[in-house]
């Protein structure tokens, strides 16, 4: 640093030693004409410097997540992921009819209907003993039908995706249009690759989140981010066309912004970023509503803290951020009210729990959906250990249209590493309990985000119990909490101590890789075996 002019602050990248120490715009200042010509580049400089400041390990972890998602996009047969036909139809509706879906009926385009028929989608879905097409004749039929260039205009009915906000689908119209000269299957593959890219974004921000939350041990960030990148559940959903991939990425960004705020203080720019993330999340998937209260709570708490040093400016930034965050919800409510629908539209009908007993019985149901029944609770799930069978076993492996899982022995075996990771994490927490106490406010915010999501899923499950049974009990709905799982992995690696920590870290990564490889083999065996 010495010997350089103090007039211009050095970039973060330069301080970290990554990239050139020479300010990017310095050379351009020598010539006025060149400066004018390169003005956009100057504006990009802070962003580029920020990107350069991200450790290379984070980029590699993100690249691994993308590659993993790409692999899953090949392993997953077309339309053999929950609701993928409906999600594709939603995008097609936006791209071809330039309007939002009109109903929850099934009125896909003729092209999609024919492809689903040729792929025997309905026969394969949910029937593990039925495999994908295998003969040349079936393949020829599919190709002939694809070459007919049937109509891509559907009737606007997209089944369950009807209640979804449009942002993810709008984004998916880009690969849809890019591949529009090809077949429907080309379009679907490119759309899946966009989801794989979003897995990279998720992993990148998970890395940055654990770096902010648990900054002490550098190598543990890599361990956690690699485990996330290799997570078969993330790979499975990122190798598909499903808004869960974007929701996971948005939530990872949200967690990172909060962690950055708690560690470094809230700047107006960060406050607005949190507001933007909230708005984007609300427009991505309804499930984000479970996470949003925690995000907004964090924003408010950080603003109050920032006001001690920044004064009114902090509250001004908070107001702008809240306006941005709540704008989509306000527009949605207004549109519903103007069209004589319930104020919260499908959200209110999804979470309508009147007629399901008292508040206690509703909370009891939600509790039992995740945890063992407590004394005094009526049994809502007789004979079912929900924590184990619905969440743990299904996290170990639950693929295809929720019809493909590992043999029971694998689930039992998985309990061992899970217990080891849990115990090591607890050990690390106990040894860091003094720091935990100091950071209780931050922990409350993360807990609010988690509990909010659990509540949303639980109440959704309760209100849809008659029509969908326990269809909401899918671990993929918990993917937005992936950053917290990653933080636990960092704690576990650190809990093993200075000597054995790195070895445990390697074991965690190799286990994640093995889990991923065997999961892909399971899916290959189920669909193509």
């Amino acid at each position: 640093v010495s010997g350089r002019s103090p007039q211009r602050p050095r970039s973060i990248a330069a301080v970290k030693g990554a990239g050139s120490t020479k300010p990017v715009g310095a050379r351009d200042c020598a010539c006025g004409a060149r400066v004018a010509r390169r003005a956009p580049r100057l504006e990009l400089t802070p962003l580029l410097e920020r990107l350069r400041a991200i450790p290379r390990a984070a980029w590699i972890c993100a690249a691994i997540a993308c590659l993993n998602g790409a692999s899953w996009s090949i392993v997953n047969p077309p339309f053999q992921i929950p609701d993928e036909p409906a999600h594709f139809a939603y995008t097609q509706q936006l791209a071809e009819n330039h309007s939002l879906p009109t109903s929850s009926e099934m009125s896909y385009s003729p092209e999609e209907q024919v492809v689903l028929r040729d792929l025997h989608q309905y026969e394969v879905q949910g029937s593990p003993e039925v495999h994908t097409i295998a003969s040349g004749a079936e393949q020829r039929q599919l190709r002939e039908d694809l070459d007919k260039h049937l109509s891509r205009h559907g009737g606007g009915g997209v089944e369950g995706a009807y209640s979804s906000p449009p942002l993810y689908y709008l984004l998916q119209t880009v690969p849809y249009e890019l591949a529009s000269d090809g077949s429907l299957l080309d379009q679907l593959q490119l759309m899946r690759l966009l989801s794989a890219l979003l897995a990279g974004v998720s992993t990148l921000f998970v890395f940055l989140f654990v770096r902010e939350v648990l900054p002490a041990v550098h190598w543990a960030w890599t361990v956690a981010a690699l485990a996330v990148a290799l997570s078969p559940l993330l790979g499975f959903m990122s190798g598909a066309m499903n808004p869960d991939s974007m929701l996971t990425a948005v939530c990872a960004i949200g967690f990172y912004c909060l962690a950055r705020g708690f560690r470094r203080g809230l700047t107006p720019r960060l406050a607005i970023a949190i507001g933007l993330v909230t708005a984007v999340g609300v427009l991505t998937k309804v499930n984000f509503i479970g996470v949003a209260p925690g995000l907004i709570l964090g924003l408010v708490l950080l603003s109050v803290r920032a006001a001690r040093t920044q004064g009114v400016a902090a509250y001004r930034a908070l107001a702008i951020a809240l306006a941005i965050a709540l704008a989509p919800a306000c527009v949605y409510v207004l549109a519903n009210l103007l069209s004589s629908h319930p104020a919260f539209g499908v959200v209110s009908s999804n979470l309508k729990t009147t007629g399901y007993g008292s508040l206690f019985s509703k909370l009891s149901y939600v509790w039992q959906l995740y945890l063992p029944r407590l004394p005094g609770m009526h049994s809502d799930f007789p004979g079912l250990f929900t924590a184990r069978r619905l969440w743990f076993d299904r996290s170990v492996g639950f693929y295809g249209w929720l019809d493909t899982s590992f043999p029971l022995g694998v689930d039992n075996l998985a309990l061992i590493p899970f217990a080891v990771v849990a115990l090591l994490g607890i050990r690390a927490l106990v040894s860091a309990r003094a720091q935990l106490r100091r950071r209780w406010l931050e922990l409350v915010v993360y807990a609010t985000m988690g509990i909010g999501l659990f509540l949303l899923i639980g109440l959704g499950s309760l209100s849809n119990r008659a029509s969908e049974g326990l269809g909401f009990a899918e671990p993929r709905y918990l993917l937005p909490l992936l950053p917290l799982a990653a933080a636990w992995l960092v704690l576990s690696a650190r809990g093993a101590g200075r000597r054995w920590g790195p070895v445990v870290g390697v074991a965690i990564v190799v286990l994640a890789l093995g889990h991923n490889v065997f999961s892909q083999l399971l899916v290959i065996g189920r669909f193509y075996g």
């Binding site: 691994i64 599919l142 090809g182 679907l188 007789p382 019809d403 070895v503 074991a507 990564v509």
Partner: protein, 229 residues
């Protein structure tokens, strides 16, 4: 956690830990490779028989516990699982199966609650070391948190020994055992099949995930060796 200090490690410490990390990574990857080979040397479960009842109709079974016995038909040698035509909406209940020859239980098995959306559930049983004819299969289902469907053929009279709603329908059952071919020997057919029904044709599609996983392994190995002390 601003009070935390950054663990720099120190070159001496890093050098002392490099070997365990390298050894752990090499051992982990080797174990993984062995695991993959062992899994591929196994055979997929294959249907080798059934009780000859078609899954033409179904009966709704309300929440709760039900049990029924019905004739099994011939059960082939080495049967190690029975695929029962019981359909769950989202979460299947526990299914307990007993194969009874005469008055003796010759095999039994259990599938715990929690299985997913499917028109059938496969219950692993103790492998039969002989073919059996004239046996009965007794099935106990539940308690169930959702209504179920039992597929088969409606029978005028209750199946022998039936109790509860199962008595209204004779359920289709299929008998499974390890196939004659290992996954290795099925690999070429599997790879060929992966090249059908997708955006591109050809067996190379089947090798693409392998290549991607290998790239991932190389990347993560280099990253671990570089980043971990």
């Amino acid at each position: 956690m601003t009070s935390e200090t950054v663990e720099t490690g120190g070159s001496e410490h890093a050098a002392s830990m490099m070997r365990p990390v390298t050894v752990a990574l090499a051992a982990g990857l080797a174990l993984l490779a062995v695991g993959v080979v062992l899994v591929l040397q196994r055979s997929p479960l294959t249907q080798v028989g059934s009780n000859s009842i078609p899954a033409k109709e179904y009966a709704e079974v309300a929440n709760g516990e039900v049990a029924a016995c019905q004739p099994a038909g011939p059960i082939p040698l080495y049967t190690s699982a029975i695929r029962m035509s019981i359909e769950a909406r989202a979460v299947g209940p526990a299914v307990v199966v007993a194969v009874i020859a005469g008055s003796r239980v010759v095999s039994h098995g259990r599938q715990p609650a929690g299985w997913g959306t499917a028109p059938t559930v496969t219950v692993p049983i103790e492998r039969l070391d002989r073919a059996i004819s004239g046996a009965r299969v007794c099935t106990s289902v539940g308690p169930s948190v959702e209504p179920l469907r039992v597929h088969g053929v409606r029978s005028g009279a209750s199946a022998a020994g039936a109790a509860g709603p199962f008595g209204r329908i004779a359920m289709r059952m299929e008998y499974l055992r390890d196939g004659a071919h290992t996954w290795w020997s099925l690999a070429s057919a599997t790879v060929r099949r992966m090249g059908l029904g997708g955006p591109a044709e050809g067996a190379w599609i089947g090798f693409a995930p392998v290549a991607l996983v290998l790239i991932v392994v190389v990347l993560l190995s280099r990253l671990i060796l570089r980043e971990l002390p």
